[in-house]
């Protein structure tokens, strides 16, 4: 019989909150965290608005050695993981660490484009300047590996690379590891630091917004790039109960598929994403009419929003206006590989607090994209089932389904 997977810990930080509690408080109250400048963009770059964590207190979560040796993406991931593990009250000395896996998602990983450029340039021009000690920080897998190392977890530790769906994907993979009996505990989520590469890349495909991210709004311009991390502690229900751990939600199921068409553009009729939702519901054994809240991918690009609105109509039929929906990217921007992890945390916290995050910057919904948007802050509701959606470049689509633990 399949093991049941439960969430026993969570941690997140983003531009509107540098720890789980301040982040959640900002999210519930509709506060964004955008700022106008950051260290990777020169003054000529037209789109400066971003979701930088200006007050990241690395020293609260990391040792001096970790701060010195890890890239910012890995630092953010380690900070969120540390908060999640603390929340879980796992006694690291009493559990079998060989049975603890770590899976983290990231889109750009640790590639700080500017620094890598210098590294390569120095190699050819002045090898004395090459910092071989810091080469390891460019290794993408340092994001999960840093978590494994800090806590001594000796199960599989790897980076999930399905673009903007990576964070959600790592959680889906975590479900499978536990259900297949390959791990008792999985630390999973996503981490992403601001990086010049996506700024230039999304600018080149004209997807950046010059103003605050406004998913589904008539006057939306596109995405605002943010950074952050969101991490869950997953356990088999048996393992959590045996150690007397607090259980914050069931993680009932997940699904994944691929558009297998355009690398940067989704299939806007919503058929692939609707199928993704259907498979997730079937995998979780939850009826479509029992979904109370949907954490949308909601990037604010014309094609994403159209795809998602169509997918919900096709999958939910005439009940498409029943579930409350919102995109927290309106408040923190698109954190790419971290987004699915952060949105998993808000899915669990919505179930815990029975309150839903609002969507801000929604003045007038684009015709044809109407959904049951949560626009009021601190909105309370009976929340038993939450669906979290993530779509990534390459047509990578991931859905996860969280339920109230009774």
């Amino acid at each position: 019989m399949d093991k049941k997977v439960v969430v026993t810990g969570y941690g997140a930080l983003a531009c509107n909150g540098n720890n789980t509690d301040t982040f959640w408080d900002a999210i519930l109250n509709g506060k964004d965290g955008y700022s106008d400048s950051h260290r990777y963009i020169d003054s000529e770059f037209p789109f400066k608005l971003c979701g930088l964590i200006n007050n990241f207190e690395a020293e609260k979560f990391l040792t001096h050695d970790e701060i010195a040796s890890l890239d910012r993406s890995a630092q953010l991931g380690l900070a969120a993981a540390t908060m999640a593990i603390k929340k879980s009250e796992l006694n690291i000395n009493l559990i079998d660490k060989r049975r603890v896996a770590v899976i983290m998602g990231s889109t750009c990983g640790t590639n700080l484009a500017v620094e890598i450029k210098d590294f390569v340039k120095n190699w050819y021009t002045d090898r004395e300047k090459v910092d071989t000690e810091n080469y390891t920080q460019y290794n993408h897998s340092s994001i999960p590996n840093a978590i494994s190392k800090k806590f001594g977890f000796k199960g599989v530790s790897y980076l999930e690379g399905t673009a903007c769906a990576s964070g959600n994907h790592s959680i889906g993979e975590g479900i499978d590891l536990i259900k297949l009996g390959k791990a008792d505990v999985v630390i999973c989520g996503g981490a992403e630091a601001l990086n010049l590469l996506p700024h230039l890349g999304f600018n080149s495909i004209r997807s950046l917004a010059s103003k605050k991210c406004a998913p589904f709004d008539k006057n939306r311009e596109g995405i605002v790039i943010g950074e952050g991390s969101g991490v869950l502690v997953l356990e088999s229900e048996d393992h959590a109960k045996a150690r007397g751990g607090n259980i914050y939600a069931f993680l009932k199921g997940w699904s994944a598929n691929c558009d297998a068409e355009n690398i940067t553009s989704p299939i806007t009729d919503g058929t692939r994403c609707a199928q993704l939702i259907d498979i997730c519901l079937a995998n979780a054994g939850v009826n479509r009419n029992d979904i109370d809240y949907i954490s949308l991918h909601g990037t604010g690009t014309p094609k994403n929003d159209e795809t998602e609105a169509n997918a919900l109509r096709l999958s939910f039929g005439d009940n498409w206006m029943r579930p409350n929906v919102s995109s927290i990217k309106s408040m923190i921007g698109h954190t790419f590989g971290a987004a699915g992890g952060i949105e998993a945390v808000i899915s669990v916290m919505a179930i815990q607090d029975q309150k839903m995050p609002p969507q801000i910057n929604l003045s007038e919904v684009q015709k044809g994209l109407e959904l049951n948007f949560v626009t009021e802050t601190q909105k309370a509701a009976a929340i038993n089932n939450v669906l979290s959606l993530s779509f990534g470049f390459g047509g990578c689509n991931i859905a996860t389904l969280f339920s109230k633990y009774n």
């Binding site: 609707a274 259907d278 479509r288 997918a311 999958s315 039929g317 009940n319």
Partner: protein, 82 residues
């Protein structure tokens, strides 16, 4: 009108793998007949082809029963002929 109902019902029957006499015109495609988005989209595609009207996934909520599909097809045909 009746001819359209029968044609729509045949499309639905083929999509959900039932005989036309095995389900009612007001039975819900998802809730009663166990269909999903793949079948929903198949029906949309076949309705378009059969009746020469434009139906897309935005219309999905309005095609959850045979009778609703007939209403939509009739409305689209009337709009097209105006």
């Amino acid at each position: 009108m009746e001819a359209i109902v029968e044609q729509v019902k045949e499309i639905v029957a083929n999509a959900i793998d039932l005989e036309v006499g095995e389900f009612g015109n007001d039975e819900h495609l998802y809730n009663d007949l166990g269909a999903d988005s793949v079948i929903g989209f198949e029906i949309i595609t076949k309705l378009q082809k059969k009746f020469g009207v434009t139906i897309d996934t935005k219309d999905a909520p309005t095609i959850m029963t045979v009778n609703k599909m007939v209403e939509l097809v009739n409305a689209k045909m009337a709009t097209a002929s105006n």
